[in-house]
C-alpha cells in the first residue's frame, strides 16, 4: 500500500506509468516501437526479516526499541560503568535471558520463513521458451514468461490465462490459501488467442500491482501478421493469482504479469496494526508510579546520605578511609553516581520478568481458547481460532458489542419460503405431498385458490433459473471426497435423488436458495456450458439459452441482471434486486400489488428480492452490447463506466414478482444476546439489510423486548414532517434525547445505571442515510452537536439497530462509540467481507467462520464457528483471562515492592552506603526462580468462579467491568499491602537483631544472616499470599507453589554449602544453614509470615460474608429466567412482531 503510494508520489513526473506493458513470451511485437525489455522485479518471495549476517544487530536493535528492554539495558550499563552495589550480573543475567529467549524465538520463526520462502522460490516450474519446455526454479520466472501449470499445482506468480486443457477455455481454481474460500472459481482464457502459443504475438497492458485480490484491469493486444491488432479486455476472471491452486483442469498456460513481491499475494502479506489492551495501559500507568517511587527512593537516599555525611566524623571514620580516587572525585559527580547507584540498587522494583511472564501468560493462555471443545463445530470441523493473544483479557471488558446481522445473528442458510407472482402469493409445501408443488395459501390479498397465469408463473421461474451466477458442481471423477464443496447440496436429508443432490456453488447463498426454490417448482438449472444455460422445465424438456451478458451484482446498485437469448431468438433481460432498487425502474402500475407482499414478508423477517424482466429489441441489444464491450475494455474508470451502462440498461422493466427467503436465526442467538445484555453489554446491530427485516430479527433475538420503546430515526420518519430533512432530524433528536436521557432517572454512571432502573427500556433505530446526515451535517458545529445527541441517546438504549449500513459506515459507528466519553471497550463480530472494516476498527474483532468466505476470519483477532460461542468466549474465557492477568499484574508489583522496600529501609541503617540487604544470587533469582512459577500457574489455571457459574450468571461479568481490578483502588490496596509487609519484614527482623546473639552457643549473626532471614520471610509470604488467593488448586498449583518453596530452601542450602570459586566474596557460606540452626530465627520467620498474612485472611473472610449470598441465589435466579425464556421464544415470531409494533413510537 505504502509502496504504491510512494511510487505515485516519487515516480510521478519521471515515469508516470499507471500501467505496465508485458510482451508475451518476450517476443517483440510488430506494431510497437523498438523492443525495450522492461525491468520488473524477479519472482523471489522474501517474507523473512533477517539474514545470517544482519540477524544479530537487527534483532538486538528491534528488541531494544522496546522501552522496557531499553530501561534494563541502561541499568545494566550503569552497573558496568559506575561503582554500584550489585554486580552487573544481577540485572545482566535476566536481561540476557529475556533477550536470548526472544532472539531464539524470533530466529526460529525467521528460519521457518526462510524455509518456506525457499520451498516456494526453489520450486521447479515448467516454462515455455522458444518452443522448448524447460524446467526452472520458480524464483527465475520473469514477467512475460509463459508458464505451464498442471492440476493441483499452485501458481508460481500472477498469470494471465492463455490456454487451458479444458474444451470450454476455462479452468477451475481454488483460492483457499489466499482468502480461505475453498469453492472452485472459474477463470477464463483470453478470447481469440491462438491455440498455438508459439505463434501468439501479443502484448498485455495492465495496471501496476495493487493488493486487491478481486480487482484487475488490463488489455491485451494480439498481433497477427497481416491484420490490425485485436484488443481484448482482461479482468479478474482472466488472472490466476499466485498461491491459488489449479483444480479440475489438466494443465494451463499463462503469461506472468506480476512476479515476486509484486504479486497480489505478496502485497496482501502484511502485518495487521497492533491493538493494545486496557490492561497494558494500566501496566504502563502502574509502571510510571513505580518509576516515581524508584526515583524518589533514590533521591531520598542520596539527599539523606549527604546530610548524614555532613555530621562530623560520619563522612570518613578512621576505620573506613576512602581511596584517593574517591577523595578526588568532584562532589556533584559523586552525588550523581550515588544517585545512579541507588537506582541500580532499587531497580528490581520494576521487574524485567514481569514482561516475560505477561507475554507467556498471554501466549499460553490463548491455547485454552483453541483447545476448548465447546467451540468445536462438527459441521465445519473446526474450532476457535486465535489470531492474536494480546487481547485475551480484553474479552472480559467488553461494553459494546457490534454485530452484523446476516450470517452472524442469522445462519445465512437461506431457504426459499414463498414467492409472489403478479400479486398472487405462492407458498411452497413439500413437493412430495403435492405433485405440482404449487399451492395457494391464505394470503390476505390474494383471492383464495387463485393463481397468476401459467405464462407469468413460468416466466418468473425462468427468471429465477437464469438470473444468477450460480455454478453447478460437477461430480466428476477428478474430485473425490477430498474436495470441499461449499456444502449446499440440495438434499435436505431426503432420499438421495439425482436432481436434489446437485451441488450449487455461488458467492451468495441467496442465489442458491432461489435456484433451489425454482427447482422445487419444477424448473431445474442444469448448468452453464460454453455460454449456454440449460434449464429443465416442468415438462422435463431442456431449454437452452445463450448467455450474452452478466451485469454483476454490486452493493451500490443492489441488483444484478443477465441478458440471454432464447432459442427463438428473443433477447431478454432478467433483473433481480432489492425492492428499493427495482421499484423505481419498473412500470409503476405493477408495483403496488407486489409492494404489499414485499413489505409484509420483510416484517416477518424474510429477505425479499424483486424480479423484473425486459425484452430487448435487436437494435437495443446491439447498442447495449457495444457499450458494454467498450466499457469493459476501458483501462481507466472501468467500474464507473460499467455502472453507468448498467444503470442505463436496467430501466423500463416490468415487474414479475418477488421472492421471500428465510434466513433462520443462529442457534441460541437469542440466549446469547440475552446473556450479553445481562452481562451489561450494549448490543448494536449493524446491517446492510432492510429495516423491517432487521427489526424483526432484533425482536426474535430478544434484543428488543415487548416493553421496549422504539425510537426511530430513519428516512421514513424524516420524511413524515414534510419539512426539510435536517430540521426534522434535529427536532427528532431533541425529542428522543429528552425522552431517553433527560427523563431517565438520574444516572449513577457506568453500567450500573440501567440495572438500577428497570423503568423503561429504549431501542433506537437508525439507517445509513440518516446516519450520514447526522455525521456529515453541513456546519461542523451542528454535526458535532448531532453526534453527541445521537451518542447520548444510544448510550441510554438497551439495543441499537443500524440498518442499511455501508461497510465503512459500520466502522464509522464503531469508531464514534470507541472514542466517546469513557472510551468504552468495543467488540465487533461479523462473518463477511463487509464486516472487516468494523472488525479492524473495534478493540476486539471477532470473525465467524461462516459461509461468506474467510475475509472476516483473516482480519479478526479471534474467530469462532458460531455466534453462540461468543457467550462462553466473553463470559467465561474473557472473565477468567481478565481476572488472571489483573491479578498477575497487581501481584507482580506487590511482590517487588515488598522485596525492595526492606532494602530501601536498610539504607537508613548502613550509612546510606547502597549496601544490598540480600545477596546477589537472591536479588537475581527472586523474580526468575523463586516466585515466578506460582503466579504463572495461577494466571493460567485460576478459576475463582467455576466456568459453569460464570455461564449461568451473566451478571458476574459486570463485577469486573470497567477494568475493575486494575483501577487505582485495588492498586492502592496491593501497594499498601506491599508497604505493610515490607515494613513488617524489615522491622520485625530489626527488632530481633537488637541482640544478634541468636544461637544457643552465643555466637552472633552478621548482615547476611539478617538479609537471609528477611528474604526467607519474603519468599514464603508472597508465595503463601498467592496460595491464599488461589481458589482453584489443581495439582499443577500444588506442585508449583510447594515446589518453588522447596526449591528456595534447596537452593539456599546449595548456594551456601559450597565455596564457589567464581565468587569474590563467599558471603552466604553456610549462612542459611546457620540461620536454620537458630530457634529464634525460625520463630521470627513464622511470626512474620503469620502477621503479614493476617490482614489478607481477615479480608477474605469478610468478603466471604457477601459472596455466599450472591452465589447461592444466582443459580435459582437464572433458573427462573430459564423457565421464562422458552415461553417468550415460543411465541410465534409473527405475533410478536405485530404486537410489538404497537410500541413503536412512530
Amino acid at each position: 500500500m505504502l509502496r504504491r503510494r510512494l511510487n505515485r508520489l516519487f515516480g510521478g513526473d519521471e515515469r508516470r506509468v499507471d500501467s505496465r506493458t508485458i510482451y508475451v513470451g518476450h517476443r517483440p511485437c510488430p506494431g510497437s516501437e523498438a523492443f525495450i525489455p522492461p525491468k520488473f522485479c524477479d519472482n523471489r518471495i522474501v517474507s523473512s526479516k533477517y539474514t545470517v549476517w544482519n540477524f544479530l544487530p537487527k534483532n538486538l536493535f528491534e528488541q531494544f526499541r522496546r522501552i522496557a528492554n531499553f530501561y534494563f539495558l541502561i541499568i545494566f550499563l550503569v552497573q558496568v560503568i559506575v561503582d554500584t552495589p550489585t554486580s552487573p550480573v544481577t540485572s545482566g543475567l535476566p536481561l540476557f535471558f529475556v533477550i536470548t529467549v526472544t532472539a531464539i524465538k524470533q530466529g526460529y520463526e525467521d528460519w521457518l520463513r526462510h524455509k518456506a520462502d525457499n520451498e516456494v522460490n526453489k520450486y521447479l516450474v515448467t516454462l515455455l521458451e522458444n518452443g522448448q519446455r524447460t524446467r526452472k526454479e520458480s524464483e527465475k520466472i520473469k514477467v512475460g514468461d509463459v508458464v505451464e501449470v498442471v492440476e493441483d499445482e499452485t501458481f508460481p506468480c500472477d498469470l494471465i490465462l492463455l490456454r487451458s486443457s479444458r474444451d470450454d477455455d476455462t479452468c477451475f481454481v481454488t483460492t483457499a490459501s489466499l482468502d480461505g474460500e475453498s469453492n472452485h472459481k472459474t477463470h477464463y482464457t483470453v478470447p481469440d488467442t491462438e491455440r498455438d502459443l508459439e505463434l501468439l504475438n501479443a502484448t498485455i497492458e495492465c495496471e501496476q500491482p495493487q493488493p486487491d485480490l478481486y480487482k484487475f484491469v488490463g488489455r491485451m493486444h494480439i498481433y497477427r501478421d497481416d491484420q490490425e491488432p485485436v484488443v481484448r479486455s482482461l479482468g479478474p476472471e482472466n488472472l490466476l493469482l499466485k498461491g491459488a491452486t489449479l483444480k479440475n483442469t489438466k494443465k494451463i498456460y499463462g503469461v506472468a504479469v506480476y512476479t515476486g513481491m509484486e504479486t497480489k499475494m505478496a502485497l496482501n502479506y502484511q502485518g495487521k496494526s497492533q491493538k493494545r489492551s486496557v490492561v497494558e495501559k494500566s501496566i504502563n500507568a502502574f509502571l510510571l508510579v513505580y518509576l516515581c517511587i524508584l526515583v524518589s527512593k533514590a533521591l531520598v537516599c542520596t539527599t539523606l546520605k549527604y546530610v548524614w555525611q555532613s555530621k562530623p566524623g560520619q563522612d570518613e571514620p578512621w576505620y573506613n578511609h576512602k581511596t584517593q580516587k574517591e577523595k578526588d572525585t568532584y562532589l556533584y559527580l559523586k552525588m550523581f553516581t550515588d544517585f545512579l547507584s541507588f537506582m541500580v540498587l532499587f531497580n528490581f522494583i520494576i521487574p524485567v520478568s514481569m514482561y516475560v511472564t505477561v507475554e507467556m501468560q498471554k501466549f499460553l493462555g490463548s491455547f485454552f481458547i483453541t483447545w476448548d471443545k465447546d467451540f468445536f463445530d462438527p459441521e465445519i470441523q473446526e474450532g476457535a481460532l486465535v489470531n492474536t493473544s494480546d487481547l485475551n483479557e480484553e474479552l472480559g471488558q467488553v461494553e459494546y458489542v457490534f454485530t452484523d446481522k446476516t450470517g452472524t445473528l442469522t445462519q445465512n442458510n437461506m431457504e426459499f419460503i414463498e414467492c409472489c407472482i403478479d400479486g398472487f402469493q405462492y407458498k411452497y409445501r413439500d413437493s412430495r405431498t403435492e405433485l405440482d408443488g404449487f399451492c395457494v395459501t391464505d394470503g390476505p390479498v390474494s383471492k383464495l385458490q387463485q393463481k397468476a397465469g401459467r405464462e407469468k408463473e413460468e416466466l418468473f421461474l425462468r427468471a429465477l433459473c437464469l438470473c444468477h451466477t450460480v455454478q453447478v458442481k460437477e461430480a466428476g471423477p477428478g474430485d473425490g471426497g477430498a474436495d470441499l464443496v461449499d456444502g449446499v447440496d440440495g438434499g435436505d436429508g431426503g432420499v438421495p435423488h439425482e436432481a436434489e443432490q446437485r451441488g450449487f456453488i455461488a458467492s451468495s447463498p441467496d442465489e442458491v436458495a432461489l435456484v433451489k426454490g425454482a427447482m422445487k417448482y419444477g424448473f431445474t438449472f442444469l448448468g452453464l456450458e460454453c455460454k449456454q444455460m440449460k434449464i429443465q422445465n416442468r415438462n422435463n424438456d431442456i431449454e437452452v439459452y445463450e448467455l450474452l451478458h452478466v451485469l454483476n451484482f454490486d452493493p451500490v446498485r443492489r441488483r444484478m441482471s443477465v441478458i440471454v437469448r432464447t432459442n427463438t431468438g428473443e433477447t431478454l433481460l432478467f433483473c433481480k434486486g432489492a425492492d428499493s432498487s427495482i421499484f423505481p425502474r419498473v412500470k409503476q402500475d405493477e408495483v403496488d400489488r407486489i409492494r404489499m407482499h414485499v413489505e409484509r414478508n420483510a416484517t416477518e423477517g424474510y429477505r425479499t428480492l424483486c424480479v423484473a424482466y425486459k425484452q430487448l429489441s435487436a437494435e437495443e441489444y446491439a447498442r447495449v452490447d457495444a457499450e458494454l464491450q467498450e466499457a469493459r475494455l476501458a483501462l481507466q474508470d472501468r467500474e464507473e463506466r460499467l455502472m453507468d451502462v448498467y444503470n442505463r440498461v436496467e430501466t423500463g422493466m416490468s415487474l414479475i414478482g418477488a421472492t421471500a427467503v428465510e434466513d433462520r436465526l443462529q442457534e441460541e442467538a437469542a440466549e446469547t444476546m440475552e446473556a450479553l445484555q445481562g452481562a451489561g453489554m450494549k448490543v448494536w446491530v449493524l446491517t446492510g439489510d432492510k429495516m423491517e427485516t432487521a427489526k424483526s430479527t432484533c425482536y426474535a433475538c430478544r434484543l428488543f423486548q415487548r416493553g421496549t420503546e422504539l425510537l426511530e430515526l430513519t428516512v421514513r420518519t424524516l420524511e413524515e414532517g414534510g419539512r426539510k430533512r435536517e430540521e426534522r432530524m434535529h427536532e427528532l433528536l431533541l425529542d428522543y434525547h429528552k425522552r431517553a436521557v433527560q427523563d431517565a432517572p438520574p444516572a449513577k454512571g457506568g453500567v450500573t445505571r440501567r440495572w438500577s432502573s428497570p423503568a423503561q427500556e429504549y431501542g433506537f433505530i437508525i439507517d445509513g442515510a440518516t446516519l450520514s446526515l447526522v455525521l456529515n451535517a453541513t456546519p461542523e458545529a451542528s454535526a458535532s452537536r448531532y453526534k453527541s445527541l445521537f451518542l447520548q441517546i444510544c448510550q441510554n438504549c438497551t439495543a441499537v439497530l443500524c440498518c442499511r449500513m455501508a461497510p465503512l459506515q459500520k466502522a464509522q459507528i464503531v469508531k464514534m462509540v470507541k472514542n466517546s466519553k469513557g472510551n468504552p471497550i468495543t467488540l465487533s463480530i461479523g462473518d463477511g467481507a463487509n464486516d472487516v472494516s468494523m472488525i479492524l476498527e473495534a478493540h476486539v474483532g471477532i470473525g465467524i467462520k461462516g459461509k461468506e468466505g474467510r475475509q472476516a476470519v483473516r482480519n479478526s483477532d479471534y474467530a469462532i464457528p458460531k455466534l453462540k460461542h461468543l457467550k462462553k468466549l466473553l463470559l467465561a474465557h474473557g472473565h477468567l483471562y481478565y481476572v488472571r492477568i489483573a491479578h498477575l499484574v497487581q501481584y507482580f508489583f506487590y511482590k517487588n515492592l515488598c522485596f525492595i522496600l526492606p532494602q530501601f529501609l536498610y539504607q537508613f541503617f548502613c550509612g546510606y552506603s547502597q549496601q544490598p540487604l540480600y545477596d546477589a544470587a537472591y536479588l537475581t533469582m527472586y523474580n526468575i526462580c523463586f516466585t515466578s512459577m506460582p503466579i504463572l500457574a495461577y494466571s493460567l489455571l485460576e478459576q475463582h468462579i467455576s466456568i459453569e457459574i460464570l455461564l449461568d450468571d451473566a451478571k458476574l461479568y459486570r463485577e469486573i467491568a470497567k477494568n475493575a481490578m486494575l483501577r487505582w483502588g485495588p492498586f492502592l490496596y496491593w501497594t499498601l499491602l506491599g508497604l505493610f509487609q515490607g515494613l513488617l519484614f524489615f522491622f520485625g527482623v530489626h527488632c530481633l537483631f537488637r541482640n544478634p546473639a541468636l544461637q544457643d552457643n552465643g555466637q552472633v549473626f552478621g548482615n547476611w544472616s539478617y538479609g537471609t532471614i528477611v528474604f526467607t520471610v519474603l519468599v514464603f509470604t508472597v508465595t503463601l499470599k498467592l496460595a491464599l488467593d488461589t481458589r482453584h488448586w489443581t495439582w499443577i498449583n500444588h506442585f508449583v507453589i510447594w515446589g518453588s518453596l522447596a526449591f528456595y530452601v534447596f537452593f539456599s542450602f546449595f548456594w551456601g554449602g559450597i565455596i564457589w570459586p567464581f565468587l569474590k566474596h563467599q558471603r552466604l557460606y553456610f549462612v542459611f544453614a546457620n540461620m536454620l540452626s537458630s530457634v529464634s530465627a525460625w520463630l521470627v520467620i513464622i511470626l512474620l509470615i503469620m502477621l503479614s498474612l493476617l490482614p489478607d485472611i481477615l479480608l477474605a473472610v469478610l468478603r466471604r460474608r457477601n459472596s455466599p449470598h450472591a452465589r447461592q441465589k444466582k443459580p435459582s435466579q437464572s433458573n427462573m429466567g430459564g423457565i421464562q425464556s422458552p415461553r417468550s421464544s415460543a411465541r410465534p415470531l409473527l405475533m410478536r412482531t405485530f404486537s410489538d409494533e404497537s410500541n413503536t413510537v412512530i
Binding site: N320, I1059, H1065, Y1069
Partner: protein
C-alpha cells in the same frame, strides 16, 4: 476413513487440562475453618510467647559502657592517651550469674555494614591462597598496599580496623583478685574456622615465612601470624577474634562475642561478689561518635536475651483469639446460611 481421521485431527483434545477441568481443590475460607483456626493459632502463639517470655526473662545480662567520654568514668583517661592504656571497670554481682557466661563487646554507631567497608576484603587471601598475597583484590583499597607498594595481608578496611581492646576479668575474693579464665575457642562460626578461612601452607614450618613479602595491616601492632602469642594455633587467619570481627555486623549497634567462661570454677557461672574488669583500651570510637560496651550474658535455647519475640508472640496470639471472638459474635448475629458446610 480419511474423513474420520481429519475429524479427530481437528477436534480439540478432550482432556481435563485442555478443557480447564482439571480436578481441583477449591478451598473456601469460611468462618467454620477460620474461627477454630484462629483459636488454635492464637493458643499456639500464646504458648510459644509465654515460653519465650519466661526464657528471655530468665536470661541474665550485665552491660557496662566503657567509652570513657564522661569525666567520671574509669576509662576517661584512656580516651586521649597513648595505646595500650589500661583502665579498670568494677562491678558487683548480687547473685549467681548462671553459666555458661558469654562475654561480648559492643560497639555503636559503627558501620560495619557500610558497603565500601564490607567489600574491602579479599576472601581468596583469607582462604590461604598465596597468589593473592602478592596481588590483593582491588576492593581492598586504600588498604591494599602500603606506601612502598608492599601488599598488605590481610588487606582491606575490615581487617585493618580489627577490634583490639583486650579484657581480663578478675573475681575479687577476700580482697584477692582471681582471674576468671576466658575461653577463646568456639566464638566464631564453625564453618568460618574450619572451611572458609585457611592459613597459607607453612613455609619451612613457620607461618611467618608464609607471610614473607607482605606487611601487616597499617593499624595492627602485630602481624597476623603473631596475633595470639599464647597459642600458636590461634594465629594467622584462624585467629578466633579475627574471624569474629570479619563477620560484619548487620546494624550499626552491634555486639560481638569475645570470650566464653566455661572453665574451672566458673563453668557453672559467676558467683555473687565483686569483680573487676581490666581493659586494655586501644580502640578509638569517639572520633566518629561511637560507644563501646561490654556485655556479660548467658544464653538459652533461643539465644541471647530478647524480649521482642516473646511479646510479639503474645500480642499476635491474643490478637488471633480476640479476632476469632469478634468473628464468632458477628457470625452468630448475622447467621450465614452455608457456613460450616
Amino acid at each position: 476413513m480419511m474423513k474420520k481421521k481429519e475429524e479427530t485431527a481437528n477436534r480439540p483434545d478432550n482432556t481435563a487440562f485442555t478443557q480447564q477441568r482439571l480436578p481441583a481443590w477449591q478451598p473456601m475460607l469460611s468462618a467454620g475453618i477460620v474461627i477454630p483456626g484462629f483459636v488454635l493459632i492464637g493458643m499456639a502463639f500464646i504458648g510459644i510467647g509465654v515460653a519465650l517470655f519466661i526464657t528471655s526473662r530468665n536470661i541474665q545480662v550485665l552491660e557496662r559502657d566503657y567509652t570513657g567520654d564522661e569525666s567520671n568514668s574509669p576509662c576517661n583517661t584512656c580516651t586521649h592517651s597513648s595505646p595500650d592504656c589500661n583502665c579498670v571497670l568494677n562491678f558487683t554481682l548480687s547473685k549467681l550469674f548462671e553459666g555458661p557466661v558469654f562475654f561480648y563487646y559492643g560497639l555503636s554507631n559503627y558501620y560495619q555494614n557500610y558497603r565500601r567497608y564490607g567489600v574491602s576484603r579479599d576472601d581468596s587471601q583469607l582462604s590461604g591462597d598465596v597468589a593473592y598475597f602478592k596481588n590483593p583484590d582491588s576492593n581492598c583499597a586504600p588498604y591494599r598496599v602500603d606506601s612502598k607498594s608492599v601488599p598488605i595481608v590481610p588487606c582491606g578496611s575490615i581487617a585493618n580496623s580489627m577490634f583490639n581492646d583486650t579484657f581480663r576479668l578478675y573475681h575479687i575474693v577476700n580482697g584477692k583478685e582471681m582471674e576468671v579464665p576466658f575461653d577463646g575457642k568456639g566464638i566464631a562460626w564453625w564453618t568460618d574456622y574450619n572451611v572458609k578461612f585457611r592459613n597459607p601452607s607453612l613455609v619451612n614450618g613457620t607461618l611467618k615465612a608464609a607471610f614473607d613479602g607482605t606487611v601487616k595491616p597499617i593499624n595492627w601492632p602485630k602481624p597476623a601470624y603473631e596475633l595470639d602469642p599464647t597459642d600458636s594455633s590461634n594465629n594467622g587467619f584462624l585467629n578466633q577474634d579475627f574471624l569474629v570481627w570479619m563477620r560484619a555486623a548487620a546494624l550499626p549497634d552491634f555486639r560481638k562475642l569475645y570470650r566464653r567462661i566455661t572453665q574451672g570454677d566458673y563453668a557453672a557461672g559467676l558467683p555473687a561478689g565483686n569483680y573487676s574488669l581490666k581493659i586494655t583500651y586501644n580502640y578509638p570510637v569517639l572520633s566518629f561518635g561511637g560507644r563501646k560496651k561490654i556485655v556479660l550474658s548467658n544464653v538459652s535455647w533461643m539465644g541471647g536475651k530478647n524480649q521482642f519475640l516473646g511479646i510479639a508472640y503474645l500480642v499476635i496470639g491474643s490478637l488471633c483469639i480476640v479476632m476469632s471472638m469478634v468473628m464468632l459474635i458477628v457470625y452468630a448475629k448475622f447467621k450465614f446460611p452455608d457456613d460450616g458446610s
